[in-house]
């Protein structure tokens, strides 16, 4: 690769893009125009057709009908290879870098033409020259696995530029970044569009990012184009209306006044547990959650929140320390959870809270199938009672399922979460432990789940909410802790919370 890499923004246009999967219309006559050098945002709920649209542009799907214009010329994109030849590149939500290779190795091997024997001295010199012209500074000689999430995301973008791409699709690029990192990465990307180096089409669901960085937005709803507007002409409320149409959204209950002297339901004292790698450990020195409050735990993925949740759920052994619930030691057994009214809504509910191949009815009855109305153990399990109980809950929590005897894995993500909520929020709840409850769910499901969590709080439950979504924490919590590198490093009441400060603690800058 002796020629220097130059990027020059190109515009991309789709005309009448239609994609049908059997009887299902994923995209219906969508025409969008992304002019050269612009920063364009693509919005829409889950299943609105955003990824279908960009996958058609990238050659992963072949549209049923419709045309693509690159730099004003009609092109035929039959495969991802064709797309890259035209300078179209995509940065995926999940990293596509190879973790055990160094940054330099990742860049070189992703190139179209790699020599049989790699002359690292020459490659390094060329990479250094290339990095000189990049807005990001990155260490290229460490393994990607050792980079922070923000650095990985930057490397993904740099990789696309290194490959000479001039039109980039970013799929929710900030979902794994701290607010500070998100600002930095998007700011630099915007500067590059301003300089005319690249055109960007960003899939996002964060309104504040769209408002701050994008020039135009296109909104899709149920596979149809709702419209393309200038960002400066729209308020966030209008954007939301364009996305969800006129369907009703569950409103959050107003927050009941917190009682500072309420009973401390959950108390964690000098808890220690090994983390995923076994090389480090998580340490929770002191954490108390009172009845009638939501305590949020913020942090970037991989800082020990998952392990903490697993300890509380009984999925991970602890090395030391105490978990007390209403003063009683808690070892996460089924008996204790039942006696102390502890309920759990873990992340990835299908994996952590369900038996995927068992039926919806059975899954909903997991907490209660072996006791009768008075809490006495039964010796004979009644399938009829399980069905009746589940039918009532399915109705009450609006779980959409073909039948009560379908396997729960056949439900959509939002409905699995609703079924788990139905199980966990029925009956008396003194302590509710929640982790990333809305991950990957659409607008209306998110609103409803948050409303239910708030309602549980208002009726006197103590809620521990572990989330990677800072907006969610700011909306729901009474107090926010930041978890970084396995420990709680910062605490603030939500009224005094400053996103900037929280972000700095998340990044471990303190």
């Amino acid at each position: 690769m002796s020629q220097t890499i130059r990027n020059k923004a190109v515009g991309v246009e789709t005309i009448g893009m239609t994609m049908r999967f059997g009887a299902f219309m994923a995209l219906d006559d969508v025409s969008i125009k992304v002019p050269a050098g612009s920063f364009h945002a693509l919005l829409g709920e889950n299943g609105a057709g955003k990824s279908t649209l960009v996958k058609c542009m990238m050659g992963f799907y072949h549209p049923t009908s419709g045309d693509i214009l690159v730099a004003g010329r009609e092109v035929d994109i039959a495969s991802p290879r064709d797309a890259s030849a035209l300078g179209l590149g995509m940065v995926y939500q999940h990293f596509t870098l190879v973790p055990s290779l160094t940054g330099a190795e990742n860049l070189v091997i992703s190139r179209e033409k790699v020599p049989d024997i790699i002359d690292w001295r020459k490659e390094r010199a060329e990479l250094a020259a290339f990095m000189q012209r990049m807005p990001f500074k990155l260490p290229l000689d460490v393994k990607v696995a050792e980079l922070a999430a923000g650095e990985k995301q930057k490397l993904e973008i740099i990789k696309q530029l290194y490959l000479g791409r001039s039109f980039l699709v970013l799929d929710e690029p900030t979902s794994v970044l701290t607010p500070g990192e998100a600002q930095e990465v998007l700011g630099l990307v915007r500067d590059m569009t301003r300089a005319g180096d690249i055109t960007v089409l960003m899939i996002s669901h964060k309104f504040h990012e769209v408002t701050a960085f994008a020039d135009d937005i296109t909104v899709l709803r149920k596979g149809k184009l709702t419209g393309t507007r200038k960002v400066s002409d729209l308020s966030q409320k209008q954007m939301a209306a364009m996305m969800i149409g006129d369907q009703p959204i569950a409103a959050l209950d107003s927050r009941a006044e917190p009682k500072p002297d309420a009973e401390i339901v959950l108390k964690v004292k000098s808890l220690k547990a090994p983390d995923r790698t076994g090389l480090k450990s998580i340490r929770i020195e002191d954490l108390g959650v009172r009845s009638g409050e939501i305590v949020g735990i913020a942090g970037i993925s991989g800082n020990g929140q998952k392990e903490f949740m697993e300890v509380l759920a009984g999925q991970r052994a602890r090395h030391g320390g105490e978990v007390l619930i209403k003063g009683a030691p808690y070892a996460s057994t089924r008996g204790e959870a039942r006696a102390l009214n502890v309920r759990l809504i873990p992340e990835e509910p299908l994996k952590n809270a369900c038996a995927p191949k068992m039926t919806v009815a059975e899954n909903i009855a997991f907490r209660t199938f072996d006791i009768d109305g008075n809490g006495k153990p039964v010796s004979w399990i009644s399938a009829g009672a399980i069905k009746a109980f589940s039918a009532r809950l399915v109705e009450q929590f609006k779980v959409k399922t073909a039948s009560l005897s379908s396997p729960i894995s056949s439900l959509s993500g939002g409905n699995v979460q609703r079924a788990v909520l139905a199980r966990e929020l029925t009956g008396e709840v003194d302590l509710l432990i929640v982790s990333n409850p809305c991950f990957g769910l659409d607008f209306s499901a998110v609103a409803e789940i948050r409303a239910r969590i708030m309602r549980a709080r208002n009726t006197g439950a103590a809620v521990l909410l572990i989330s990677e979504d800072l907006d969610e924490l700011l909306e729901l919590s009474d107090r926010i802790f930041v978890m970084s590198d396995g420990a709680l490093v910062y605490e603030t009441p939500v009224a005094q919370a400053i996103v900037q400060t929280i972000g700095e603690h998340m990044a471990g800058h303190h």
């Binding site: 991802p80 290879r81 995926y92 999940h94 596509t96 870098l97 190879v98 973790p99 055990s100 290779l101 190795e105 070189v108 091997i109 992703s110 790699v114 020599p115 049989d116 024997i117 790699i118 690292w120 090994p274 995923r276 790698t277 076994g278 090389l279 052994a317």
Partner: protein, 308 residues
């Protein structure tokens, strides 16, 4: 007379000599397995390929009266077995470990079946280079009588170590082994890469087998392999998928394997059978020492089914 001159020094000398002699099949099988595992697949069938390779090499060497066609035939047989493993494993829902075990039994069984007529005749040996000419002591000369395959294996280890970093093929292999998704995003077909990697791994195991029947012990019997193919898998994990580590670990295992005969040769008559078990005990100890209940192995290829 000379033996008494060097006395107990004979034990470490025999271990060194034994390490060089016994380690060669370990080197080839473990390098082959390192290639296969680096591509994200585990091939437990190498034991079967080793035994089948030993039989093929011996049979062809007897028929052609030269060890080299035997060596090539063993490599070709291993390649076929490896490709077969790689081909079956590309189908969804197929478990590479189960197929490996099946191939291990199949390869050994087939070798016994075809190998019956070759237990009696004797085949020409692979040549060795005497590096011990400077010494008058026969034990030293014997210990330093190094087979060409050992030297090739050592060179191969260094080459692979270099190639994993500095060649396109090496990088592609590591990409595929670490992340199928990333590989697909680059337009690579992980199944093809793994097919080739398993094939090459099988060919190297076949060469390891040829060494067994054509040099040390140097005859074809049904008990020719004492689990070298399986121990090599443990060895690759112990070596953290590093070819140089594989070479060093193979020497260590070879040395351990030579402990029993060495003690016997200096006149220890009691309990030396226990020392024959040294390689197996070493395997166990290494597996226990390098495993942990709460974490996955550092440095393991991400796509490997045993470490996921």
């Amino acid at each position: 007379m000379v033996a008494t001159e060097i006395g107990l020094w004979g034990v470490p000398l025999a271990i060194v000599g034994g390490a060089i002699r016994v380690s060669t099949p370990f080197i080839f099988v473990s390098l082959g397995e390192a290639i296969t595992e680096r591509s994200g697949r585990i091939n437990l069938g190498l034991e079967g390929m080793l035994v089948f390779g030993a039989m093929t090499a011996y049979a062809v060497a007897v028929m052609t009266a030269s060890p080299w066609p035997g060596l090539l035939a063993a490599a070709a047989a291993g390649l076929c077995f490896g490709l077969f493993h790689g081909w079956i494993c590309k189908f969804p829902g197929v478990n590479d470990i189960a197929i490996g075990i099946a191939l291990m039994l199949f390869g050994s069984g087939l070798a016994f079946f075809f190998g019956k007529p070759y237990i009696q005749p004797s085949a020409p040996d692979l040549p060795a280079i005497p590096f011990g000419g400077w010494s008058d002591i026969p034990q030293v000369q014997a210990a330093l009588n190094v087979n060409v395959l050992f030297l090739i294996g050592a060179a191969l280890a260094v080459f692979l170590w270099w190639a994993f970093r500095n060649t396109r093929v090496g990088l592609i292999l590591r990409v595929v082994g670490d992340s199928s998704d990333a590989a697909r995003a680059m337009g690579l077909n992980p199944d093809t890469v793994r097919l080739v990697a398993t094939g090459v791994g099988g060919a190297l195991a076949g060469i390891g087998g040829a060494y067994l029947s054509l040099y040390y012990p140097g005859s074809w019997t049904e008990r020719i392999s004492s689990g070298q193919g399986l121990m090599a898998v443990a060895l690759v994990i112990f070596a953290r998928w590093n070819p140089l580590g594989c070479f060093a670990a193979a020497l260590l295992f070879g040395g351990a394997g030579a402990l029993g005969p060495a003690l016997q040769s200096v006149g220890v008559t009691q309990g030396y059978y226990l020392f024959y078990a040294a390689p197996y005990i070493l395997t166990l100890v290494i597996m226990i020492a390098t495993s942990s209940p709460s974490r996955s192995l550092a440095g393991a290829p991400g796509e490997l089914s045993i470490t996921k």
